[in-house]
Each structure stands twice: as C-alpha cells, then as structure tokens.
C-alpha cells in the first residue's frame, strides 16, 4: 500500500520540468538534431511543387529514358538490364543500352523499390522514380552538415545544410519528377569529397576506402565524375606546392586513386578510360609524382648529408619529369591515350563548341552564364562567397584549401556552362555558410563581452585607473551591444530574403514539368496543355506495334517511353550522321524527303508546332539547328538557302526553299484556314508573330494522321509507294 502510494508521488515529481532541465551539452545536441531534422524535411517538401500542382509524373526528356530503363530493370532483373540491346531506338542501328548508360540512378531507384516491396509497401515504380531526387537532396543536406563540420565547425555545418536545402541552383535539377542522373550524382559528389577530406585529415585507411567507394558510386551515376578525377589530383598538387606533403595525404590519395580506378572500370560505359583517356591522365601523373615525393622523403631520411641529398634531388626530379613527359608524348602520339573529348574540351576552351560541334552548341543548357542566371540561382550567396573565401584564407588548413579549390574551379565551369551551376552549388553554399557562421560568431561574441567585464571588475581591486578605464569601456559597451544587435537583425533579414527568393524561384521557374504546359487565360485562370501525352498515347493505341516514328531527336525518349514505338533518333545523340540524315529529310523538298524516309522504313512523322498556342520551343524555332546539323554532314543542305538577308522568316518574304521544305509543310498543313487570334488574318502564327507565307499546302506522300487539340503535336502517316502499272 505504501509503495503504491509512493509511486504516484514519484511520477508526479519526476514529471516536473525541473528534472527535464538538460545540461548545456545535451541542449546543444537536441538543438542540432532538431535543426537537422527540420532541414531534412524542408529539403524534401520544397521540391514537391509540381507534384501538388499537376500530378506525380516524370518531367522533361532525359528522365523518360531513365524511367524506361528502370522499369526494364525492375521487370527483367539486373543481368537482362546489364546486357540489354535495344532495337526500339536508333532504327535501324539499335543501341547497346547496357554498355552506354550510367547505371547508378536506375540501380538506386530499383533498390529503393525492392526495399519498399520487401516492407510490403506496394508502390508503383513511377512514384519511386519521381521522389528519388527529393529524397537524395535531403541526404545531401546531411552530408553538407558533416562536411561543414569538417571544414569549419558545427555552426557552419548547420548553416550549410540549411542553405543547400533550398538553394535554387540545386533545386532546378532535383525537383520531384526530375529523374535524372544529377539527382543522385550531387549526393555522390559531396559524399566523395567529404570522405576524401576526412581521409586527408585523419590519414586513416578506412576513410580513404570510403572515399574510393564514394567515387565508384559517382562514376556509376554521372559522366561528371571527370570533375572529381581532375579536382582531387589538382588539390594534391596544390598541397604539394604549398609544402603540405604528409603521410596522411600519401595514404589518402593512393588508396582513393588505385581503388577508385579499379572500381570505376567495372562500369562498362567507362571501361578502360582511366588509363587510356587524356582527361584522366592528370590523376595518373599526380599519382606518380606522389611516389617520387615519398621516395625522396625516404632517401632524405636515410642520407644524413644535405649536399648529397640536394644533388640527388635535382637528378631525381629532372629524370622523373623527363620520363613522365616522354611517356605522355609516346602515349598521345601512338594514339593509345585519346585526346580530350569535345564536351570536356569546350569547358577549357569555350569557343571550341561554337565553331566545331553544332550539336553541343545547340543545347540551351550549354550556353555560357550571364550575371542574372547567377543571381537567380544564388541570390545572397554571391555576397557571402567572397567573404567566405576570405575567412578560409585567414585560417588555411588542408580542409579549407580543398573547399576553396572546389569552389573556384566549379564556379569557373559554372560561368562557362549554365548547366554546371549545379556542380558549383554545394561549394558556394559551404563557403557562404563559413562566412555566415564566422560573422554571426563575431557579432555574438561582441554581445557577450559585456557580461565578462563587470565580473573581472568586481573580482579585482578597484584602482582609480582601473575604474576610469572601466567607465570608458562601459560607455562604449552599450553602443557596441546595440550595434551588434542591429547587425544580427540585418543578417537574419538577409537570410529571410534568401528564403523568400528561393521559394518564389522554385515555385515559378523550376517546377514546370515541360511535358505539360500551363498558361494564364484571359481571366487569370490557369489553362493546361497536355498535348504531348495526348499525342504519345494516340501513337500507342492507334498505330501498329512495329511502326517507326521519325521526329527531331528532342522527343525520342518520350516517344519510346510513353508511345512505346520505335524511333529513328533520340536524345542520346550518339550518332551525328543519323541525326543529320533526319535533319536533311526535314529540310528537303517533299520528294527527296520521301526517298530518305523510305530508306529508313519510316511509317509516321511527328512534329511539334507552337503557332496556335504561342509555344516558342517548337520545331520551326529549332529548324535552323536541323539545317546546320544536316548541312554539317550533307553539303547539299546550305543554311543561306533558308534565310533571307541573313534573317529567318516564315511569312511571304521567306525564301522559296523554306516555304516548300517538309518541316514547313508538316507544321503549317491546313493552318492557313485557321483563325488564331481575334483581328488577325487566317494563318497567323502566334509564336513568330507573322502571317505565314504559303497557306495552300498540298501533301503528296504523307497524310495527316492526328493533330492534338491545341495543334501542338502533329502526326503524319507516310503513304506506301503507289503501285506501278
């Protein structure tokens, strides 16, 4: 009885708040964990705008290929996927999919899918694919926290995690539905860098092993792994030059390079590039240089004679450089070491792509970056980045040297190509976090000094001089304290403006699925154009299963994934001549185009036309690229034939070749009868803003099969040849 009476008393007393009072260390841990938890959730939900507005679907073009391959992987298993030869794309060539893709993304999504099925959550693979990118973005924030802790301190880590969770530069490629390689690759990139910096700091073999496996994950995920295999040797070289060679660096780099290289060769697409390609030779050169350094260090330890060692040093360094140079020369001259590929060479020499490779120059993501793109994607971080660099230079260590190098190289590449803003984002967020953390620390330390001064004044004896100095200090203290409070309020105001900007940018600019278009109607209501999916499902349900569809390469992946039909060219763009053939067909007169289409066994032609809706990314606006790429392989196609005084026109003043080419005819067939805008004549093209020149179009070898409700996608059937009598 007594015990029973005592236990409620015990419960009551133990539940009072006094016993809930935690020590400072526990308070700090609780604060950190809760902040990280909130940041994790925030990173996930900030990316869900398009799922809430439209539906859970895959966006853009490339993700449809990834979705199709993931579907294949989950249905047929890993070995079928690894050895897959696809005859449904690039007809009649086919594509070795198993050997020409980066499997990391698909395998990751498939693993998540199988794990969920094992736990008896029977989700569709499409939902897993849509939500993979936000999930990995949340994981990236956690890695950013640990990385920030490594470079500076926990405060910087928390700020870095919060900044990277909502940074528009990262959100643009990791929104829900953007099922692309970068979604997983940025996580792998940051993980590899974190593990490597940790390995250099501790010199431990296990961390170096971890970084090698992180590198393997990155190689399996994205072609941008070339950035890692060049940045890490560059970092090692800078450390060697600044005299920071140590055993830790030796262990870390050797382990990561050798194991990473061996693991990377397991990916068929990469193959033997680590020993054969010019882009990977820097890593090998630094590896050999490290061995030379270690050897010299050992010899110096053995010899006690400095003069002797100096001569030995000179001989060894000269001979090492000579041997390395000769080997590189022989390798390059004999062709064993291939030169830098066009995509990466254009990063070093940005004018190269414009002059030599029109396919690379035509992609809008490959254009160089203007200041407004930087501002749009970074906002406040552009101010904090130089300040963060200053703090890093104040406290130079192996880790801060790394983040400075990563930040500078990635920012330069981001300036060359808009798409690479994504790679620079983690570095910019980390360095900005250092600036924020250091500034806030300075300001709060100003706030705290006032509490210390009266204590020392009271414990020491109060002399006259001491009292006068205390008085002067007290006079400046309130001013300093108020100033510090004002500046802290300013810092929080700037960070809140950053959050508002990021949310607005995400909502307005980066959450459109691209396959579903939206516009504002006359009364401000939202109108949805779902023409693409309408056309692909028409193809799927109304054409024979072995039909072959010819379209421009932009739509290839979507046609194969949603329409389930064979295409001639798709977004992989691995065969320039095949694409040029299609470009030639689109820009020739109907008879020549018919011959080309018969030779390729084409049954249907698909074009995208924005004249009725004012959609500006249609095939007529892309037409000059078709001419350029076609003309690059077939000199019979000449760009000036389609221009009038150097200007591209589709109205009455357009060149006759333009008015009669296949693309023009297919886009504007029957368009001359349509009234598109009140007060304008029939056949008014709303995307170009002109009345078309040739309204009376007759098609001889093709017939119209389907036009979507807003005339955005138009499908034509290729008629079989007439019987000869």
């Amino acid at each position: 009885m007594g015990a029973k009476k005592a236990s409620p008393d015990l419960l009551n007393s133990s539940f009072s708040f006094k016993s809930l009072k935690l020590k400072t260390k526990q308070q700090e841990l609780l604060l950190r964990v809760s902040i990280l938890g909130l940041v994790y959730v925030l990173a996930f939900i900030a990316r869900l705008f398009s799922v809430l507005r439209y539906e859970s679907m895959i966006h853009e073009f490339d993700p449809y290929f990834n979705y199709r391959t993931t579907l294949f992987l989950t249905e047929k298993g890993f070995y079928e996927f690894w050895n897959w030869f696809d005859s449904e794309s690039w007809y009649p060539l086919g594509r070795i999919i198993g050997g020409t893709l980066y499997p990391g993304l698909m395998v990751t999504a498939a693993l998540i899918y199988w794990t969920l099925r094992f736990l008896r959550f029977f989700v569709h693979i499409r939902e897993v694919c849509v939500l993979t990118a936000p999930f990995f973005a949340s994981n990236t924030t956690i890695v950013a926290y640990f990385f920030g802790k490594e470079i500076w301190d926990t405060g910087a880590g928390l700020v870095a995690a919060a900044l990277i969770a909502i940074c528009p530069g990262y959100i643009s490629r990791s929104v829900a539905g953007s099922y692309d390689n970068e979604a997983v690759a940025i996580f792998a990139l940051l993980l590899t860098f974190y593990l490597f910096v940790k390995a250099v700091k501790t010199g431990s073999l296990s961390w170096a092993l971890g970084s090698a496996f992180g590198y393997f994950y990155m190689v399996s995920a994205w072609g941008g792994y070339v950035f890692i295999i060049n940045l890490v040797p560059l970092y090692v070289l800078v450390l060697l030059i600044t005299g920071r060679y140590s055993m830790r660096l030796y262990v870390a780099y050797n382990c990561m390079y050798i194991l990473g290289m061996l693991l990377a060769m397991q990916i068929r697409f990469v193959g033997f590039q680590h020993v054969q390609s010019g882009e990977h030779m820097g890593a090998m050169g630094v590896f050999l240089l490290m061995q030379v350094f270690y050897f010299l260090d050992w010899v110096k330890y053995q010899l006690n004679d400095t003069k002797l060692f100096q001569t030995f040093l000179r001989i060894t360094v000269t001979s090492a450089i000579l041997v390395g140079g000769i080997a590189l020369g022989v390798g390059t001259a004999s062709g064993y070491i291939s030169p830098w590929t066009g995509r990466f060479y254009s990063l070093l020499d940005p004018t190269y792509a414009k002059d030599h490779i029109p396919i690379i120059a035509s992609v809008s993501e490959h254009q160089p970056t203007a200041w407004s793109s930087f501002m749009f994607d970074y906002h406040i971080l552009l101010f904090l980045f130089p300040a963060g660099l200053y703090f890093c230079f104040k406290r130079l260590s192996d880790a801060t040297i790394f983040i400075v190098m990563y930040g500078l190289t990635s920012l330069y590449f981001a300036g060359v190509m808009v798409r690479l803003i994504l790679v620079a984002t983690p570095a910019v967020c980390l360095i900005s976090a250092i600036a924020v953390s250091a500034t806030v620390k300075n300001l709060t330390s100003l706030l705290r000094t006032k509490q210390k001064v009266p204590q020392t004044g009271s414990t020491k004896g109060v002399g006259s001089s001491k009292s006068s100095s205390k008085v002067t200090l007290d006079q400046s203290q309130p001013f300093q304290k108020n100033g510090a409070i004002a500046l802290l309020v300013g810092v929080f105001y700037l960070l809140s403006r950053y959050a508002i900007h990021c949310t607005w940018v995400t909502s307005e600019a980066y959450s459109s699925p691209s396959i579903v278009l939206a516009a504002r109607g006359a009364h401000g209501n939202r109108i949805i154009f779902d023409d693409y999916r309408e056309a692909y499902y028409w193809l799927r349900q109304n054409t024979p299963t072995d039909a072959k569809v010819m379209s421009w390469w932009d739509y290839g992946y979507q046609i194969t994934a949603m329409g389930n039909r064979t295409v001639i060219v798709d977004n992989n763009t691995w065969n320039n001549t095949h694409i040029a053939t299609v470009g030639r067909a689109m820009s020739s007169y109907e008879d020549e185009a018919y011959d080309i289409m018969r030779s390729l066994d084409v049954n249907y032609v698909l074009v995208v036309f924005g004249g009725v809706t004012g959609y500006s990314s249609d095939d007529i606006n892309k037409f000059l690229w078709m001419v350029r790429i076609g003309g690059g392989v077939y000199p019979v196609i000449k760009e000036p034939d389609y221009l009038v005084n150097g200007e591209f026109r589709v109205d009455k003043g357009a060149s006759p070749k333009m008015l009669n080419c296949l693309m023009y005819k297919l886009c504007y067939y029957r368009f001359g009868e349509l009234v598109t805008e009140y007060g304008k004549p029939t056949g008014y093209d709303r995307a170009r803003g002109v009345e078309i020149g040739n309204k009376d179009i007759k098609l001889e070898h093709l017939e119209e099969a389907y036009t979507t409700s807003n005339w955005i996608v138009r499908i034509y059937r290729v008629k079989p040849p007439t019987n000869r009598l």
Binding site: K307, T311, P350, T369, W371, S372, S373, F383, F393, T439
Partner: protein, 176 residues
C-alpha cells in the same frame, strides 16, 4: 659591401666545388669536368638563379577576388556570345535611338556593361562583410575599427539594394 660578399660567396663557392667534386655521385658532372672544362675555364659570374617564393595568402586572395568578379560578371558569356556593350531601341514616336542597359526577355542574356556593374555590386557586398570582420579585430585603434564598421555596413547595404534593383529591372515579374 657588395664586393666583400661576392668574394665571400666566391670563396665558399670554390670550397664547395672542391668538396662536391671529390664526393659527387653525379656522373654527368664528372663527364663535364673532363670534356670541356679540363681545358676551358668558366668565367666568374655574379648571377643567381631566381628563387621561387610562394605569395602570401592575402595576395592570392586578392587575385582570386578579381577572377571572381570577372566570372560573376558573365565574362565568358561576353567572350563567346559577343553581345554589344549596351543595347539600343528606337523610340517609336521620335525615331531617336535610346540606349537600353538591361537585356530583357530572358534570364540568361546580358549586355557587357550590365554584367560588369552587377558583378561590381556583388563584390562590393562581399568586401563589406570582410570589412565588418576587420572591424572586430582587437589590435586596431578604436577610430579605425569604427570606420571599418561603418564602411562595411554601407557597402553591404548599397550592394544588396542595388542588386535587388537590378534584378527587378531585368525580370519584371520578380517576386510577384
């Protein structure tokens, strides 16, 4: 002073060459000692190999800040796309040519001058934060610290306000 140090270095140099000649393991040195230099006498030179010293961190930082300014101003865009320094439109009423500073219509396009001025604003804001940190350094006079603080705060405020103004002009629907 100079001749004395020269003769000193010469004497030490000759002494060094004697000792190194006896115990050198360098085969090329021995060959060279035989073939031309047993009968040729090298002249006494007063040259020194240029020594390579690493610059201080703050020098490197200044160079990096300059590079950052160039990249952020869209320098690569200027070199490749070659936009005009400043755009121009024709006034519909009077027919006069009016300059247009900000290229409108797209996010990823700029004229040269607008890029450089925006980049300058960003760098100014960054330098403001750096000056704030310098103001909290304990080893300076109070007046210097106060002026650093005011300069820093002014730079940050001006840089931020101008950047916001520029982006509002460039993208008309910003934050609506």
């Amino acid at each position: 002073m100079a001749p004395r140090t020269d003769s000193q270095s010469l004497s030490t140099g000759s002494a060094m060459s004697d000792t190194s000649g006896e115990s050198s393991i360098d085969p090329i040195f021995h060959i060279l000692r035989l073939i031309p230099f047993s009968f040729l006498r090298p002249p006494r030179l007063r040259l020194k190999l240029p020594s390579f010293t690493l610059p201080s961190p703050m020098t490197v930082f200044a160079l990096i800040l300059l590079t950052y300014f160039l990249v952020i101003s869209g320098f690569v865009y200027d070199v490749i796309v070659e936009p005009p320094g400043i755009g121009s439109t024709q006034d519909p009423n009077t027919g006069a040519i009016r300059p247009v500073v900000f290229m409108s219509g797209r996010v990823n396009g700029q004229y040269i001058i607008e890029g450089l001025s925006s980049g300058f604003m960003f760098v100014m804001g960054g330098i403001g934060i750096i000056m704030l940190d310098l103001a909290l350094d304990k080893n300076r006079a109070k007046s210097v610290k106060a002026s650093y603080a005011t300069a820093g705060v002014t730079s940050i405020v001006i840089g931020y306000v101008m950047s916001m103004l520029f982006i509002r002009i460039k993208i008309p629907g910003y934050l609506h």
